[in-house]
Amino acid sequence: MPRVVFTPNLERHVAAPSVDVPGRTVREVLEAVFASNTRLRGYVLDDQGFLRQHVVVFLNGEIVEDRRHLSDAVGESDELFVMQALSGG
């Protein structure tokens, strides 16, 4: 299953442990995380369900392209890394 790792910076506000969850796109993977961690959703996605302006997601080290629909394909052994974009600092 894909692995999702969150920046430790998030822990100041909300629990965000690394997890292995199923999913074939960035959206599916993240929603699988949020299904059991509902508070975390609002820290990563905005009220439209899009990636927050100052949050970035890496897929195997590359920034995901589709920030709105999160449609980038994810493989079984892929790793997602969710962190704060420096633009928001």
Partner: protein
Amino acid sequence: MNDRILVATRKGLFTWERRDRWKITRTAFLADPVTMVLPDARDEALYAALNLGHYGVKLHRSDDGGEAWEEITPPAYPQADDDDTSLRLIWSLEAGGGDQPGRLWAGTLPGGLFRSDDRGSTWHLQRTLWERPERWKWFGGGYDVPGIHSICVDPRDSGVVTLGVSCGGVWTTRDDGESWECTGKGMFAAYMPPERRDDPAIQDPHRLVQCTSQPDSLWVQHHNGVFKSNDRGATWHVLENVEPSVFGFAVGVHPHDPSTAWFVPAVKDECRIPVDAQLVVARTQDGGESFEVLRQGLPQEHAYDLVYRHGLDVDRSGERLVMGSTTGSLWISEDRGDSWSCLSTHLPPIYCVRFA
């Protein structure tokens, strides 16, 4: 008098209390921007709105005076196809009337008014206002998008609510949000093209306040000057004799005397600093016929403090005032503004001060 003050800042929420002297007795959300705070006198709950740099707008509630906070769900905009419709800021929070337990109002950027009837646990966009065609005329003032910064619930009738919008004028409902009317007749924006100068839906009331004991009286510090209404906001007249400037952001009104109001003048438009770098408060005690300039205890040289919309508050007695600035200075007056005492000059930039 109120002996507790909540100070919402760029880097946290600070509670000041009057013991042997005024002192900070509690800090919360240290290092996080707290854009608005609401002490609800009906059940003594506290609400704090945050705008985290990376992680968006958050809302917290405390039922023990600010010792412990619970994160609650902030307002959310409905799905939209454009890039602007998304919650950017909670700019105002107010409690409903005493006959509306649990009712809260939230004014936000980009211009949505939200209502809660369960102490902030769930929120509903007021589509009756959001879908008004005049809203498309609104534009940003202070921020890139329009926002609702003032919400006045009529103490006589909780179904009468008046809003201040930058830049979208003054709006009133008389049926608890079923319908809304733009009520800015008499306001004008001299800086706009002549054809739009008197359009009520493009006015920029920087701050709107209502007298508690005589709610027909409302005061506005407008981008263009100071306006007063004596008829529940239906019509407004300009007051041009405010010294040293008619420009500013904050206004406070005496809760029991609608003729007494306070303003914090500044240089207009691009040069937003106190006139002559001297911080003063302008006060009228005769309904705007005349204004006094109050400066005792305030810095009178090289002062660059700006007092934002929510940076001035009047306590329930009308005798005590508190004022906080963008420079992180905090002052209190125990005599209607005649004299001021500095509580701090090194707080983070202050967004909002409220007596509790």
